[in-house]
Structures are given as structure tokens and as C-alpha cells.
């Protein structure tokens, strides 16, 4: 039998991978959750038909949303992670012994359960004593926080479905309030390669810019995301992601990474012109 999973990247582009076995398929209150075992990418988590992570390339995403802020402010102690039900971001954060407290807010408990069962590669740090897991809406959770976190990572799904509220202006404003003066906001920022994503990237960038004095974008290569070229946002009240890079201090953490290094850190904020054009258009 020849079994293939296809994700629609645009109306005219499909991304297809061969499936060994479908391990899980259920609809939670919020979304359709599927897990496939595949030949090329290992196990794959799919929400509402969109690939969230694969075992083969998840390290890129998870290193890039954690190591970049940790290298700008190695003193980060209190972290809030929104989304991230697969546990990959938590796994990376738990490698930093200096982090004292991690609050994770995931709206869909079912995602956490399923990942614990089928994706131990990422869902391996939920028992860390520094972690408190809250099953609730991120928008609601962050609204009640003030001057509390050194880092907020928005590890969300796309700007439609359950993640929609995490791309709004009020959410970024609430994040700014929840962060300390040296706080950093990292968010999943979609991609500008396909036209159908461009408006959302612009809107998101504009909204973050309205809440933070420093709002930058960096790039990553994630083979299983649409176009493979993916963006993250780095926003803060006063820290610059490159000028304030503490490369030597980060190296002292002694954390072995497969994608990230401090030279790449400097480079990933240098963006192609077609991306710059899109971002410039936001101002």
C-alpha cells in the first residue's frame, strides 16, 4: 500500500510525504489532531491538516526560538511559553540551568496528552520541577500578568483556528505589559515567500511594532514548512538582538546545538531584500 500525506501550502502548491503508519487521529474541542509515522521525517504532528513538527527537523525551530533570546539576555530567569503543546520549546529551555521558572500555557490539553504518548522526543520535559503547565487561552492568561517575565515565546499555530488570538494587537500589548524592562518576545512569524502569507506577516509585524520599541525579524530554514523559509519575530523594550548579543556568555552554558551557533545568530537577522521590502511596507 502506498500511503501519502499531503498538506496544501497554497491553492496551487502541495507538500506530500510518504506515510508508514497513521498513529493517531482524533478531533479535540479545538482542532483535528493527527500523528503519522513517516519514512523520511520520522513522526509528524499535524493540526487541522498543517504540519506542526517532524522529528527530523523540529530541532531547528526549537533551538531558534530559545537560543536566540538566551544569547541576548543570558540572565533570563522567568519564562512564559504560549502554545508549544508538543514540548519541544520546553525541552530546549530546560537545558538552561539558570532558568528558574517556566510557565507554559496551552489551550488544547489533548495536544499535550497525544504528544506525551507519541512524541517523547519533544514531550520529554513536562516533569521538570521548574515548569507549571496551564491549560487555558494564552490571550486570557497573559492579560493578567504585569512585569513578570524576562522572556515570552509564542510558539503558536497559524493565525487562524485556535491560534488566532495570538496574532492580535491586544495580545502583543498584553505581552509587553507582562514583560520586564529587559524582556524579550519571540514569536512564530510565518513566511513571506508565498503571496498568500504576506498580508498576515505585515499585519503581525505592524502590530508587534506598535507594542515594542525594538521589533526585528529573523529567518530560519525549516524544510517541512511552506517554502522552507520561515521567520520569527524578536521584540523587546530595549535589547537589540545583534548589538546586545552575549556570545561568550552563551557559549559558557555549554549547550550543544545542531542548528544554532552565535555566528549564525548574527547572520539570521540579515534578511533577503524581498523580505525586507515586505517588512518595510509595514511602517
Amino acid at each position: 500500500m502506498d500511503l501519502w500525506f499531503t498538506e496544501k501550502h497554497t491553492d496551487d502548491v502541495n507538500f506530500t510525504i510518504r506515510v508508514k503508519k497513521q498513529l493517531y487521529s482524533e478531533k479535540s474541542y479545538y482542532q483535528q489532531i493527527d500523528i503519522f509515522d513517516t519514512y523520511e521525517f520520522g513522526k509528524v504532528l499535524v493540526l487541522d491538516g498543517f504540519i506542526m513538527l517532524t522529528e527530523k527537523d523540529e530541532f531547528i525551530y526549537h533551538e531558534m526560538v530559545t537560543a536566540v533570546p538566551m544569547a541576548v539576555n543570558p540572565d533570563i530567569k522567568n519564562v512564559l511559553v504560549i502554545g508549544a503543546g508538543d514540548g519541544g520549546t520546553i525541552r530546549e529551555l530546560c537545558r538552561y540551568e539558570t532558568i528558574e521558572k517556566i510557565d507554559m500555557v496551552e489551550i488544547d490539553e489533548q495536544v499535550v496528552k497525544v504528544c506525551k504518548e507519541f512524541l517523547p522526543q519533544t514531550a520529554c520535559s513536562f516533569d521538570d520541577p521548574r515548569l507549571d503547565l496551564y491549560i487555558e487561552d494564552g490571550l486570557k492568561f497573559v492579560r493578567r500578568k504585569e512585569n513578570e517575565y524576562d522572556l515570552i515565546i509564542v510558539d503558536s499555530t497559524d493565525p487562524f483556528g485556535p491560534g488566532e488570538g495570538l496574532f492580535t494587537k491586544e495580545f502583543y500589548g498584553n505581552c509587553s505589559k507582562a514583560l520586564t524592562d529587559r524582556g524579550i518576545l519571540i514569536n512564530q512569524h510565518e513566511s513571506t515567500y508565498y503571496d498568500s502569507y504576506v498580508d498576515m506577516v505585515k499585519r503581525t509585524h505592524r502590530r508587534i511594532g506598535s507594542a515594542f520599541p525594538v521589533s526585528m525579524v529573523y529567518q530560519t530554514h525549516i524544510p517541512t514548512y511552506p517554502s522552507g523559509h520561515w521567520l520569527f519575530g524578536f521584540a523587546s523594550k530595549n535589547l537589540h538582538p545583534v548589538y546586545d548579543l552575549k556570545a561568550e556568555e552563551w557559549k559558557k552554558f555549554g549547550i550543544k546545538t545542531r542548528y544554532y551557533n552565535t555566528e549564525l545568530h548574527k547572520g539570521c537577522f540579515a534578511l533577503p531584500n524581498y523580505v525586507l521590502d515586505v517588512l518595510d511596507d509595514c511602517n
Binding site: 486570557k140 492579560r143 500589548g173 498584553n174
Partner: protein, 447 residues
């Protein structure tokens, strides 16, 4: 899109008119009659009329069916413009009962039974009592006792239920007019019941003649009643009858949750049942999410504008001290959370010292001459700032809520002028005057 094409959408295909098998709204004997009977049953009325000229037509029919020229009608002053318009047309004389006011919120409330009784005793010749059930802000009077008082004195009891469709279906909501025994009620099914804009129901009880009411309706109603609107009324009636209870429960749960969360933000006051006092705030309609904003140094209309321009959230209205969001079953948790979070952001970014802000929304009017006489008197246009102490010859309203600040025949006082200037400054949408810029106002000559 070309509406004449064969592939025109279904709503265009519904737009037919008055061929025999489709009955005739002016004289219903078959399918429209059946649909009206189903609606009457669903709303607990003796008869229901499909209205396609807006709830305005239903309100006017209630007044025309109760009063002739010179007859008195008892009503709160915070009625919708359609009620006072009806007085201009038919020449009935209003006996205003001043609504209670909440000083902190600056909004008009309902009528206390005592005040209605006083008006009835002082005007035993009045023909009817009109009640807002509820007001735009969701505040209800004790309609059961008011209906009984009216009936005990030989008057009809009428209800403007433009904002009250859900009262017929939800649990733990204030009493509906028909349940209270009222004689007629104008119900905007299109506002909270899901029918198309401009469609509405006029409900009647036992004491009024269905035939006479239909004659009154036909005085002003189109003879080409829209089947699109009628079909939407029929479908909305079905949905309300089958699912209404559940839908409005969801709306109340959302609104109650939002009230609790908004009050936790601090600065705002999302008011509710705690203000019920057995008098002029007899009952509260929990589907209305009214939030007092003035304590944060922001006019309601300013918050309303920021929500729309900066946060892509369109709510019902903002006035001087409050905003109103109407929560429906069509909302999702996301919309509710976004609304609350945006209010929290607006507080963080825009709140300021509230001193010096206008603190009252409702000013009791001084009625010098009846609305019809004033409207048809010789009038002249004067710059609004020079109109103090003259008698107004037209309406001035903020829209929404569409409750007149000035109605024809009322004295233009300094307080009212200050209020109008403040509304203009804060960006309220003022309507009603012949001069669309509201720089000039028509006043009664020799006033």
C-alpha cells in the same frame, strides 16, 4: 454580479411578490397567515403581524392604534425616536414619565411603578402606557405591575421591545411583554433574533382587535411587502422556537464571564444585576454588555472608536460614559477574550484623569408644546449656540442609541447645549436636524 441571471443567489430568488399562492401581507389568508400564527404561538401572543417597514412601523402602529389626535399617552422620555415621530404624525400628546437615572453611570433607567401610577392618576384620560422592555442598555421596568396598573385604569399597555426578542426564549431573563399581559409589543427580530434588517414583529394580546390593527398597519405599510424579509422572519421564528433557549444561554454565559473579567481589569465598570433595585432598575437583561468607561478618563465613544480603529472590534455603540456590546450566540470565546484583552490594553495605553469629564447622559426635558404642534409651527434656523431658551422645532439625537436629546416642542437649555457640544467634541454621531452639520437648529418662531 447581475441579479437577473439564472444563477442568482437564493436570496434573490426569494424576492417575489404577492402572487396568489404566496398570499398578501396586507390581507393574509393563507401562507402568511399560517406563518403569523406560528409566530404568535412561539411568542405567546394572540396574534403576530409580520412587519417589513422596520420596528419603527410596529411602534407607530401601537401608538396609532391606541391614540387619536389630542389623546394622551404615558411614556418614558427615553423612548426611541420612532415613538415621538408617531406623535408628530398622529397628534397624540405625550405625558412623559422621567426615567430614573443612575448618577454614577449617567444613563437613564426604567420607570418606577410609583411614577407611572402618579402619571396615570394625574392623567386619567390617557389612552395608553408605553414601556421600554428593555432599554438599549438592558434595563427593564416592572412591566407586570405597570401593565396591571394600566389595565386597572382602562388604558392599553404597550411595549417597545426593539431590544427584547430574546426575552421570549431565554431562561433567567426579564419578563417579556406578552408574558406580562401587555396589549401590544414591537419586537425587532432582526436585532437579536437573527432575521434580516428591517424585519420585525408586532405582537398583540386579547384586548386589541386584530382587524383594526391591520387597518392601521395598512395606512402606512408598503403594499409590496418583501418576501425576503418575511421568509427571514419565518426562519428566525423557527430557529428561536427550536434553539432559542440554548442560544441565549450561551450569550448570557459569555456576557456574564466578560463582565466578571472586565471588572477585574479595574477602572471599567461592567454593570449587571447587582444594580437591580426593585424600582427604576427592576430587572437587567444579561445579554447586554454595558461597560462604564468614564472613570478611566475616556468617553464611551472614544473607547468605541479605539476598539474599531486599533483593535478591529466593532461594538454596538459608545455614548458619553459607556460602551455597549451585544453578545450573541454567534460570538466565539475568541471574540470575548479579544474584547476583554483590548479593553485591558486601552486602559494601559489611554486612561487618564477623569476630572472635567461630562458626567451625565440624561437631562430631563422641559416640554413647552406638543411634538406635532411644534414640528408644524413656523420655524426658523438659528446658530445652535444662540438657541438657548428657545423651543426646539426638530429632533437632536446621538445615534445610536437614537434617544432624542431634544424633541420638537422642548426647551433648549444651557445644560442641553453643553451636552450637545460635548457630544460633538467627542465624536458622537449626531442626527435629526435639518442641518446635517448640526451648526444650526430649527426653533419655533416667537418662542
Amino acid at each position: 454580479m447581475d441579479l437577473t441571471q439564472n444563477n442568482a443567489p437564493i436570496y434573490v430568488k426569494c424576492d417575489v411578490n404577492s402572487m396568489k399562492p404566496l398570499d398578501n401581507l396586507c390581507h393574509p389568508v393563507s401562507v402568511i397567515k399560517d406563518a403569523e400564527m406560528l409566530a404568535a404561538e412561539a411568542f405567546g401572543a394572540k396574534h403576530a403581524f409580520f412587519i417589513v417597514n422596520g420596528t419603527t412601523a410596529a411602534v407607530q402602529t401601537m401608538i396609532f392604534a391606541s391614540c387619536k389626535a389630542g389623546d394622551k399617552i404615558i411614556m418614558p422620555r427615553n423612548v426611541h425616536r420612532s415613538a415621538i415621530n408617531a406623535l408628530v404624525v398622529c397628534g397624540a400628546i405625550p405625558v412623559y414619565v422621567n426615567p430614573g437615572t443612575n448618577k454614577q453611570l449617567g444613563i437613564p433607567l426604567g420607570m418606577s411603578v410609583e411614577d407611572v401610577e402618579k402619571a396615570i392618576i394625574e392623567n386619567p384620560d390617557a389612552k395608553a402606557v408605553l414601556v421600554n422592555n428593555p432599554t438599549y442598555y438592558g434595563i427593564c421596568s416592572d412591566i407586570k405591575r405597570i401593565v396591571k396598573l394600566a389595565h386597572d385604569h382602562g388604558m392599553l399597555a404597550l411595549a417597545d421591545e426593539a431590544h427584547g426578542t430574546h426575552l421570549y426564549f431565554g431562561d433567567n431573563l426579564p419578563c417579556s411583554a406578552m408574558a406580562a399581559g401587555a396589549d401590544m409589543a414591537a419586537v425587532s427580530i432582526h436585532k437579536t433574533g437573527g432575521s434580516l434588517t428591517q424585519s420585525s414583529l408586532l405582537l398583540c394580546g386579547d384586548k386589541v382587535s386584530e382587524g383594526y390593527v391591520r387597518q392601521i398597519i395598512n395606512l402606512t405599510q408598503t403594499t409590496s411587502g418583501s418576501y425576503l424579509l418575511m421568509v427571514s422572519l419565518d426562519l428566525a421564528r423557527k430557529n428561536l422556537a427550536l434553539n432559542g433557549k440554548e442560544l441565549f444561554k450561551k450569550a448570557v454565559d459569555y456576557a456574564d464571564y466578560a463582565r466578571e473579567e472586565i471588572n477585574k481589569i479595574g477602572g471599567y465598570y461592567a454593570f449587571g444585576k447587582e444594580l437591580e433595585n426593585g424600582r427604576d432598575f427592576y430587572a437587567f437583561d444579561s445579554t447586554k454588555l454595558s461597560v462604564h468607561t468614564r472613570a478611566m478618563g475616556l468617553a464611551g465613544v472614544e473607547v468605541y472608536d479605539i476598539l474599531r480603529d486599533d483593535y478591529d472590534i466593532q461594538i454596538e455603540f459608545g455614548d458619553i460614559g459607556n460602551i455597549l456590546a451585544i453578545v450573541s450566540a454567534g460570538d466565539r470565546e475568541l471574540e470575548i477574550e479579544r474584547f476583554i484583552s483590548s479593553l485591558s490594553e486601552i486602559k494601559r495605553l489611554y486612561s487618564k484623569d477623569p476630572s472635567g469629564m461630562f458626567d451625565h447622559e440624561y437631562i430631563n426635558p422641559i416640554v413647552d408644546i406638543p411634538p406635532q404642534q411644534a414640528f408644524y409651527s413656523d420655524k426658523k434656523s438659528v446658530p445652535i449656540e444662540q438657541s438657548e431658551n428657545m423651543i426646539c422645532g426638530e429632533f437632536v439625537m446621538c445615534y445610536p442609541p437614537g434617544i432624542p436629546i431634544l424633541a420638537p416642542g422642548e426647551r433648549i437649555t444651557k445644560d442641553i447645549l453643553n451636552y450637545i457640544f460635548y457630544c460633538k467634541e467627542k465624536g458622537c454621531f449626531l442626527t435629526g436636524t435639518e442641518d446635517l452639520e448640526i451648526n444650526n437648529i430649527n426653533v419655533v418662531v416667537n418662542s
